[in-house]
């Protein structure tokens, strides 16, 4: 497959299936953005973090697709377990995000940072990193969303797997990502509701519920026996 052909095919596939992609990601995105309820600019940053994580997920899949061909999807047990693990990760992150938001809990300082009385800068860095680590959640959610298999993604995976070169596979998935991302452009405007404090709670509670859904789905896929095709 030539470069231009790969590029246009990935982009067109992303554009044509973007709505389905957005609908699949909506249970993750909407609670995340409602719960954060920042300004439009703040939400744009949040979206970039999310999309950055999602691109990472896509490229990881591109790598896997190129290495294994259709092996991951072809093997029922392996595919189900892998999907289950992704759902577990997504569920755990959503749950953590929702609980932190609803309860307003600030993560405690690690013992090392509390007892550290030597270098002030090092202590501050440890403290800041630990306190701020929930800020990695949007990127983490993006990553797991990217790895989560949805109908458009299966089509992209099938296409990406037949690429003969790693660069081709990566390019195809990057273009697929770009095509689907167009549909995410309106998302930061959810920030317009930021003055409605109720929506922050609604978003946070939804994140907990969606997180529980994904956790259940992941557990079932990991624990229950899979029927081989």
């Amino acid at each position: 497959m030539h470069g231009i052909e790969t590029l246009t095919q990935g982009l067109l596939l992303g554009l044509s299936s973007g709505i389905t992609c957005l609908a699949t990601c909506a249970p993750v995105i909407v609670p995340l953005f409602l719960g954060s309820a920042s300004s439009t600019r703040g939400n744009a940053r949040l979206l970039l973090e999310f999309l950055g994580g999602r691109l990472g997920g896509y490229l990881l899949f591109a790598l896997a697709a190129w290495i294994t061909g259709r092996l991951v999807l072809g093997s029922g047990a392996l595919g189900a377990r892998a999907t289950g693990m992704v759902a577990l990760g997504l569920g755990a992150l959503m749950l953590a995000y929702g609980i932190l938001k609803v309860s307003g809990i600030q993560l405690p300082l690690p013992a090392a940072a509390q007892s550290h009385s030597g270098c002030a800068v090092s202590s501050l860095r440890t403290r800041t990193w630990f306190r701020e680590c929930p800020r990695l959640i949007p990127a983490g959610l993006g990553l797991f969303s990217g790895l989560n298999i949805c109908p458009p993604f299966v089509v992209a995976l099938a296409q990406g797997a037949v690429n003969h070169s790693l660069a081709g596979s990566l390019l195809f998935f990057a273009c697929f990502f770009a095509g689907t991302s167009v549909f995410f452009i309106p998302v930061p405007f959810i920030g317009s509701f930021r003055r409605q404090k109720a929506l922050v709670y609604v978003g946070s509670f939804s994140a907990i519920l969606v997180g529980l859904c994904y956790l259940y789905s992941g557990l079932m896929q990991c624990l229950l026996p899979v029927t081989e095709p």
């Binding site: 909506a26 109720a198 519920l209 969606v210 859904c213």
Partner: protein, 401 residues
């Protein structure tokens, strides 16, 4: 950010306090007379329909008809709304269970539905599903529910039309006057004299909106009736899928847990309608219809002493000190009339939007009571007749079916 659950119990308002809303005997009878005719038409039908009635059915229908109209007359005469509404509401919920399950057994021989029932679209549709099917219906022109569109028992079309009419007429009043599930947790919420849990964090009042949002998103993403499959507490008393797999077993455990927790235990210990106020997605959805509806609850700030009685008595957390200070209820108000009955200063009243405030609270109340009671009778009357017949059958033959 907590709300106190009512520290004191039942209404202790002196009857004389209700005088501003009460009618004299003659006025009450005159006002109730059209209701007698309308409910008669609904329950008995025309002369042709009467011919098909058995003697037993006719007696049961007449009993329910007279009973309903007696309660309506008492509402008008006493000026009290909630105490009478609550009795009928609980009776309707019990009647629903008593008629629904035997009906299923008669029509398809089993309560638990099978894959075959779903494939044949034989699952009765209920109003709780409506918010969940809207987005997929709009985008894919598909109803993600295995029910019949126009024919058969509880078809999708008939329930949607009924819900539309009820929502336009009553707003979220639907939840206190029409919903045949709501009486279950309302009944349980009056089993204890005092609440065991006295405070509920107000953050929980946002949970129904979160459930609504989550269900709408997940249903749209998966194109499946997620609420029916996973979260409906009332599956425990209506119908459920035959347990044939681990997934269905977990679903059944969830249904039972949610029913016991939200409809039985928590309402008992808090004396609040927990399922309706803190979980129901339909209730959250109905809150928006309150904005379109012309009936509302208003507080007369000149008469109000900020005693907080209405806030603590409200069974659905729809009043806060802030909303009372602003002179109204939150959009989650179900117009049950509890606050109207409870106010010792008669500062709370029904109001028709666009009319002069507190000019005629009696008229505003009657203008709400008429459609609300008519809907209650239309939905619940048939169920009560059915339940009465089932009870008679049980007593005389030893079987409900």
């Amino acid at each position: 950010m907590t709300t106190k659950v009512q520290p004191q119990l039942a209404l202790q308002t002196p009857a004389s306090n209700r005088a501003p809303l009460a009618f004299g005997w003659i006025s009450s009878v005159l006002i109730a007379f059209p209701m007698l005719q309308l409910t008669g038409l609904l329950l008995l039908g025309g002369p042709e329909a009467l011919k098909s009635f058995t003697r037993l059915r006719l007696d049961a229908t007449l009993t329910v008809w007279l009973g309903l109209n007696g309660v309506f007359l008492a509402m008008l005469r006493s000026g009290r709304t909630n105490a009478y509404r609550r009795v009928l509401f609980v009776l309707i919920a019990l009647s629903f269970v008593l008629t629904f399950i035997p009906n299923l057994l008669e029509t398809r021989d089993h309560v638990a539905f099978t894959a075959g029932d779903m494939a044949d679209c034989r699952i009765p549709f209920c109003h709780m599903v409506i918010p969940m099917v809207l987005i997929p219906a709009a985008f894919t022109k598909t109803i993600i529910f295995p029910g019949s569109l126009l024919t058969g028992f509880a078809s999708i079309g008939s329930m949607v039309v009924l819900w539309l009419a009820g929502s336009l007429t009553l707003g979220r009043g639907w939840c206190s006057w029409v919903c045949f599930f709501g009486g279950m947790d309302e009944g349980c919420s009056h089993l204890l004299n005092r609440p065991v849990i006295k405070t509920v964090d107000r953050r929980w009042t946002y949970l129904p909106l979160a459930v609504l949002l989550m269900i709408m998103l997940v249903s749209a993403a998966t194109l499946s009736p997620t609420y029916c499959e996973w979260l409906c507490p009332f599956k425990s008393v209506t119908e459920f899928e035959s347990v044939t797999s681990t997934r269905v077993f977990i679903q059944t455990v969830l249904f039972a847990s949610l029913f016991i927790g939200l409809v039985v235990v928590l309402p008992i210990v808090t004396r609040k309608r927990v399922q309706c106020a803190l979980f129901c997605l339909m209730g959250a959805f109905q809150g928006w219809t309150n904005m379109l509806n012309i009936h509302e609850i208003r507080m007369n700030r000149d008469a109000c002493t900020d005693c907080g009685r209405c806030v603590t008595q409200c069974p659905t957390f729809s009043l806060t000190s802030e909303s009372v200070a602003a002179g109204g209820a939150l959009t989650s108000c179900t117009k049950c009339g509890h606050c109207v009955d409870a106010c010792p200063r008669n500062a709370v009243s029904f109001h028709v939007k666009g009319t002069k405030l507190f000019a005629s609270p009696r008229l505003a109340r009657v203008l709400f009571l008429y459609p609300a009671f008519l809907f209650l009778a239309a939905i619940g009357g048939g169920m009560m007749v059915g339940a009465l017949l089932r009870i008679i059958r049980l007593v005389t033959t030893g079987s409900l079916i």
